[in-house]
């Protein structure tokens, strides 16, 4: 049993934390790229900015400023610091539901990001700054996993994380391979940049060796069963957590949607797919993730009272 508002807040903590971590990685890869080759760097910066939904492609020519704003601009609701502030604000609202260990991790990240030294720390070493946030967010996940009861609240937290993750990876892949005007990226430097943005470079190399190909990247990031950032892996977790939450609620709506999406990826014809079919599947994934989000909200949080009043 858990308050509807509380479940909603935990779900959003998961989403914002996942988003912040993803943005950190995007910013880091973007800044790192500028150190090597200027042409490809602009392409990587374009991918990163497009993946976070920034329409202003001119920013790609000054990646440092773009990364700085993405990290620390509090006016921008999509910045890393805004995501973390929102995660922490939600955590404050459910302070009684998360353990002190979990809260402390998130509060610490927030204090660091909003403290007076943040801008200087970023200027002194942007890569180290972003790495520290990612490492702190891993500590947050670890604290949640190790200290919170793996009950309903924890499931809503993870549901938010995995739903956000599936959408973020889906959007990133769409930017790289689904843009009909530009065509799929095939530059080696940009492709490894994409793998880095997904935190997938090392696991990919172990699986496919240094043979970096668009089709294999898509296969790995969409259909791999074990890689925690593949869409298939994420949808399997979404289904798992929703099934458990729905069992106690007695409502199968969102669970049905999640099960269908999971099956789509699990039983996809991986051997015979190409970049064209991938684009179709990615669109379906994004649409169905949005549908699951709406359905979760309507089933667990903003349900109509008439249906639930005692007789």
């Amino acid at each position: 049993m858990m308050l509807a508002r509380v479940a909603d807040s935990l779900y959003w903590i998961g989403r914002y934390v996942e988003r912040a971590e993803h943005m950190c990685r995007l910013s880091d890869v973007m800044l790192n790229a500028t150190l090597d080759r200027t042409d490809a760097a602009v392409q990587v910066a374009r991918i990163a900015l497009a993946a976070v939904g920034d329409k202003n492609v001119d920013k790609a020519s000054s990646p440092y400023d773009a990364a700085f704003a993405l990290a620390l601009d509090r006016q921008d609701p999509g910045s890393i610091t805004s995501s973390l502030a929102l995660a922490r604000e939600n955590a404050r609202q459910v302070r009684d539901q998360i353990t002190t260990e979990t809260w402390e991790r998130l509060n610490l990240i927030y204090l660091r990001m909003t403290g007076p030294g943040a801008a200087k720390a970023f200027a002194d070493g942007s890569s180290a700054f972003l790495h520290d946030i990612i490492a702190d967010l891993h500590l947050f996940r670890g604290a949640a996993d190790a200290t919170m009861s793996h009950g309903e609240g924890w499931r809503f937290l993870l549901l938010g994380m995995y739903l956000e993750r599936a959408e973020l990876i889906g959007r990133l892949l769409k930017v790289c391979f689904g843009d009909a005007r530009r065509g799929p990226i095939d530059d080696h430097f940009a492709l490894t940049g994409l793998l880095r943005m997904s935190c997938a470079l090392e696991p990919y190399l172990r699986r496919y060796t240094a043979d970096v190909q668009p089709r294999l990247i898509l296969e790995f990031l969409m259909f791999d069963e074990d890689f925690p950032r593949s869409i298939r892996f994420s949808t399997a977790r979404i289904e798992e957590h929703l099934a458990a939450a729905s069992r106690s609620a007695g409502h199968a709506g969102p669970e049905r949607l999640a099960g269908r999406l999971k099956a789509r990826l699990q039983y996809a014809d991986v051997e015979n797919f190409d970049l064209g079919t991938a684009s179709t599947i990615l669109n379906t994934v994004l649409d169905e993730c949005a549908a699951i989000h709406t359905s979760v909200y309507e089933t667990f949080v903003a349900y109509s009272l008439e249906m639930r009043l005692p007789a």
Partner: protein
């Protein structure tokens, strides 16, 4: 004695001619009181850097826990902790025994008073307390008339403000029977000071307070236990923007009960429910941290979004218990306060163990003229205000301020009371690396359900400004841990 000990200067009084404040640590002759000896010795061994380091660790503990309030600035908002002092305030067992007995007696009588004025009104008929004083108080709730309250426990959680007078005797300055706060600071201060002076703490035999959440839950459950075998308790908070939100979340977490907001509640058929992920769930006891005015827009303030529509009717119907009961404020009204010793005698046939501060009611013509003639010596308070607002501290005010306040009193005498300026006692505090005396008060917490329990601990509030007598956190006050010593150190943890 070592050079750098907690040597406070008892002669430093802001008021020439007034009695010197009682010094918690030193006698008038300058000797360290017995119960402060161990702490004094321990502090004497610490370098100023050690103390500063410990102070920093303490502040970091509060910051990490999120025991903060937010200061909103133009560029960015920053988190500030409530100022907390490193050095504990220590109260020996025999002094505490008297406080405990006095507080129990007082709350017992005040609960009986509330049951009476919301029932037969015998005390008003007997003329002990003026009828119009009670019935015209804004905190009197007509809606509570003839409503059954289990165990006659109206004020389930009470936080009384005590001060120590220059003669060393504790007196009650104020009773807080509405939604008193500060208990989370008492608990957090303790957690922090255990880490700061572990050795001294262990040796002193400090009585444990960590059972407070458990006792609070037991008290709340006792309010419904007769009709619901395992009552569902919740804490009702105005929300995350309330300055005491940390405390609400803290108590809910330590009691293991849901923390709800008004928007989580639904009243249907005079039953109160909360919206959960699995549908509606019935609530039996609401520990509300929302003021009377805001708990139910249908009964009280119509513009309130903090409560639940229909809540009061559910309460009237006996389907839910609201703690503290609405309308308890009438018993901590600043004018009714003057009658509390009479109230205790009336119901219990005893003299008050803890005295009141002498109080002049401006509604009485003779007392009014005395107040107006002595504005430079008195503290004048508006009856309806709290938190250190609407107050004149005569000796510290300018002639113009006094004249303006005098006019305000004459215009509306019923709204004012006056008390002599009391020199609060002083305790040693760490101020920018130096140990200096600061004025302190004492807020213990008393629970009443099927029985009355006084927690063996308190919040000591500190007036951080040198010479200041105002300890409210809204007016630049801080706090420190309070050690209540056990008569026998071996019993401390029982």
């Amino acid at each position: 004695m070592a050079e750098r000990s907690i040597d406070t200067d008892p002669g430093r009084s802001s008021l020439s001619g007034a009695a010197l404040p009682y010094n918690e640590m030193q006698t008038a002759e300058g000797a360290i009181r017995q119960h402060y000896l161990a702490l004094d010795r321990r502090v004497a061994t610490l370098e100023p850097e050690d103390l500063a380091e410990r102070q920093k660790t303490l502040e970091r503990f509060f910051l990490l826990q999120g025991i903060t309030f937010t200061v909103y600035g133009a560029e960015s908002s920053t988190e500030r902790i409530i100022p907390t002092d490193l050095l504990p305030r220590i109260i020996p067992a025999e002094e505490w025994a008297r406080i405990e007995a006095g507080l129990t007696q007082r709350l017992c009588a005040l609960n009986m008073f509330l049951a009476d004025i919301y029932g037969e009104q015998q005390i008003l008929m007997d003329g002990v307390v003026p009828r119009e004083l009670v019935l015209s108080a804004p905190s009197y709730r007509r809606e509570m008339q003839n409503l059954f309250v289990p165990h006659q426990a109206y004020a389930n959680v009470c936080g009384s403000d005590l001060i120590r007078q220059p003669n060393g005797e504790f007196a009650v300055l104020e009773d807080n029977l509405r939604v008193p706060s500060g208990v989370s600071y008492m608990l957090a201060n303790r957690e922090a000071s255990r880490r700061t002076f572990p050795g001294t703490f262990r040796a002193a035999g400090v009585r444990a307070i960590d059972r407070y959440p458990d006792l609070l839950l037991t008290t709340l459950k006792s309010m419904a236990a007769d009709w619901r075998p395992n009552p569902q308790v919740v804490v009702l908070t105005p929300g995350v923007y309330n300055s005491a939100y940390y405390e609400h979340a803290y108590l809910a977490r330590l009691m293991g009960v849901p923390l709800v907001e008004g928007r989580d509640l639904v009243v249907h058929d005079n039953m109160v429910y909360m919206r959960t992920t699995t549908g509606l769930r019935r609530i039996d006891v609401i520990y509300r941290r929302v003021d009377d005015d805001f708990i139910d827009p249908l009964t009280f303030r119509r513009d309130s979004g903090l409560g639940a529509a229909g809540l009061f009717n559910a309460y009237r119907a006996g389907n839910v218990v609201i703690c503290n009961a609405p309308g308890t404020g009438v018993a901590d009204d600043k004018a009714v306060y003057a009658y509390v010793p009479e109230i205790i005698r009336y119901y219990l046939g005893e003299d008050a163990i803890l005295p009141n501060i002498e109080t002049y009611l401006c509604r009485e013509p003779a007392q009014l003229s005395h107040v107006l003639a002595n504005l430079d010596k008195l503290v004048v308070k508006a009856v309806g205000a709290s938190g250190g607002y609407g107050m004149l501290i005569g000796p510290h005010a300018s002639a113009k301020e006094r004249a303006d306040f005098g006019d305000a009193i004459k215009a509306d005498p019923e709204n004012y009371i006056a008390q002599p300026t009391i020199q609060l006692s002083t305790a040693p505090c760490l101020m920018d690396g130096e140990i200096e005396p600061r004025h302190v008060d004492l807020r213990p917490f008393i629970l009443s359900g099927d029985k009355i329990v006084v927690t063996p601990g308190a919040l000591t509030r500190v007036a951080l400004k040198k010479g200041s007598l105002v300890v409210n956190s809204s007016q630049g006050g801080g706090s420190k841990d309070t050690w209540i010593l056990a008569a026998d150190p071996k019993d401390a943890q029982l």
